[in-house]
Symmetry: C3
Subunit: 141 residues, 3 copies
């Protein structure tokens, strides 16, 4: 079984956002899989996807604070500054975190750990809607 | 052919640990694949997986030293401090390195480079046992 | 349908290099897939793969500048120095960016975003040719 579809995520402010529920709601076919994998792929170079703690909003705030310090808008080395001060840091953050996640599926559900949630990492001040290409494959129930 | 199983790794101290042999011993079915892929997925948000140099233990020591400097426990920006000073840095390190590896399999063996080994990256002082969800799929020999 | 093959990339200087076209030319089978995935895996521990902006060469220059500042050859904590000052930073950069990419394929083409290109990240001064293990799987057209 193969399923591939584009999902569009509504615009979010710069920061780290929990999107597990939104992804699940866009994937009713997940329930039909006995064993398989889900590939989530973001079709942009200034936003990214990661997995992390799904309970405390302050964890997501600390992600934003730390990444802003680690990849400084005021870094003197930037030469690609035409698209604004948030652009080049967004590209670096996107590659540090990565454009995709591959998640195990078992008996119609994600086989994640208890505390794992899917984050949309929006690195731009005004990123707009973000498009995911979602691919699900495996053996049916 | 699909195989999916949980593997539990014994507790290890904070740092970077070579686990290639332990993973292989838990996957006898690998030998049956002619061509395929192995997906290793850690079900935690304060430990991670990466591939790196499998020969010199000082490489793994330098990983621990560098990541502790880059993601400082004393960073003034942390607000999520309830679970100890090693907790929030562990979440950031886990997302920088990532929760999963996808490895090519060919003729019953990993098709890795000569120097590539699988690292468990334990970011907590007392992380305990770590659970992997392992998925193997491809064509049989 | 499964296809797996080794591709060798010609030597490149230290830095970030766009290789989308070179990868496509090595994969004529891609056109036969209706839906599937491509896994690109680099068999080295001092070079890596990422996706990022495919238009402006100054973005790739800024990647090199930022990573050299973030993972400093002169970091006082290095103990693995036997293979030269560029070696240990190369290992860290390789794990930050990762050894593989999984890309969606649809109707015989990559389903990437408009601005996404494949980067070879060469972290060594004289890395030489780099070997990729390429795996393509999915449903034929």
């Amino acid at each position: 079984m193969w399923m591939q579809r584009e999902l569009t995520l509504r615009p979010r402010e710069r920061g780290f956002h929990l999107i597990t529920r939104e992804v699940l709601e866009g994937l009713p076919e997940l329930r039909e899989l006995r064993v398989g994998l889900l590939h989530l792929f973001i079709r942009h170079t200034s936003a990214s996807l990661t997995l992390n703690e799904n309970a405390s909003p302050d964890v997501r705030d600390d992600f934003e604070t730390w990444f802003n310090e680690a990849v400084d808008e005021d870094f003197r080395g930037w030469t690609h500054t035409l698209e604004g001060p948030d652009d080049m840091p967004a590209h670096i953050k996107a590659s540090l975190l990565g454009p995709s996640l591959t998640l195990p599926v078992r008996d119609g559900r994600f086989a994640l750990g208890t505390w794992q949630g899917i984050y949309l990492c929006e690195h731009r001040d005004h990123g707009g809607p973000r498009r995911l290409m979602v691919t699900l494959w495996g053996e049916s129930r």
